[in-house]
C-alpha cells in the first residue's frame, strides 16, 4: 500500500526529529553558557574576524553549476525510460541514444568554449 509507506516514512522523519529535539532539550537542561570575551567568535586562524563572513563571494564553479542544472533534467526522463527499456528493446535504445547525444553536444560545446577548465 503506497499510502502506508508514505505514512511510515513520515513517522520515521518525525521520530528522528523528536529524538534530536529530546537531545537538544537534554543539553539545554544540563547547564548554562558562561559568557567570556571572544568565545562566541567564529574560528579564523588565530586572529579575530574583522567583518562578518556573509559578504559577496565569487563562486568559481558557477559555469559547472549552470551546466549541471541543465544536464540534471536528463534523469527525469531517464528513470521511466529505464523501467521500460527491456520491453521496448532497440527502439528505446535509439530514442535515448538520440536524446543523450543531443545533451552530450551541449557538454561538448561547453567543453570547447573552455567552460570545463579550472577557473
Amino acid at each position: 500500500m503506497p499510502n502506508t509507506y508514505y505514512l511510515i516514512l513520515l513517522a520515521m522523519l518525525l521520530c528522528i526529529t523528536a529524538l534530536a529535539g529530546c537531545l537538544y532539550l537534554l543539553k539545554k537542561s544540563m547547564g548554562i553558557i558562561i559568557k567570556e570575551p571572544a568565545k562566541d567568535v567564529p574560528v579564523e586562524a588565530g586572529s579575530l574576524p574583522q567583518k562578518p563572513a556573509w559578504v559577496r563571494f565569487h563562486v568559481h564553479y558557477y559555469g559547472f553549476a549552470l551546466l549541471f542544472l541543465a544536464f540534471d533534467m536528463e534523469m527525469a526522463f531517464m528513470y521511466p525510460w529505464a523501467v521500460v527499456y527491456k520491453e521496448l528493446g532497440i527502439t528505446a535504445l535509439i530514442d535515448m541514444g538520440v536524446f543523450l547525444m543531443i545533451l552530450f553536444l551541449g557538454l561538448l560545446y561547453t567543453w570547447s568554449q573552455g567552460g570545463l577548465k579550472r577557473q
Binding site: 499510502n3 556573509w54 563562486v59 558557477y62 549552470l66 551546466l67 544536464f71 533534467m73 551541449g106 561547453t110
Partner: protein, 171 residues
Amino acid sequence: MNMERIIFLLLFGSTAIWFAWRVFMTKSMIRSALSLLASMVAIGILFLVMQAEFLGVLHIMMMATEMTIMAIFMMMFMMDPGGMGDMDMSHQKKYSSVFAFLSGASYAAAILFTQWPITADAVPAPAQQNHDLGIELMQRSMMIFETAGVSILVAMIAATATALSFNSVNK
C-alpha cells in the same frame, strides 16, 4: 471524500503557502532560497499525497540542487546576502499586491464556478505508473521528449555563451 487525504492536503498545502510567503518576506537571501526549497518540498509531498509517486520524489530531489544553486548565485550577485543590513529590495509594492490579489482571486473564482468532471477511475499502482509513464514517454510523447532534449541543449548553449567569460579562451 477521504478525510485522511484532506487533512494531509491542508497540512502540507498550508506549509507550502507559508514558506512561499516567507520567500519574499525575509531579508536574508539564502533563507529565501531555502524557504523556496521548503515550499517546493511541500508541493512534492502534495504530489505524494495525490499518489503521483515518481513525480513527487523526482520533484523533491530536483529542487534540492536547483534551489541551492540559486543560493550560490545570490551569493555572487548581492552585496549583503545575509540580510544583516537593512536594505529594501522591493518596489511598486502596492500595485503588485493588488495585481497578485486580482490574479489569484480570478483564478480561484474560475475554480469555484467550474463543474469538475470527477471520474471514478482508480489510480494505477505506483509500479504500474512508472511503467505507463515510460511507455508514454517512448511512444506517444516521443517527439515531446526529444524536443525537451533540444531545448535543454539550447539552454546549455545560451547559458554557456552568456555566462562564461571568453577573455581567457580567445588568446
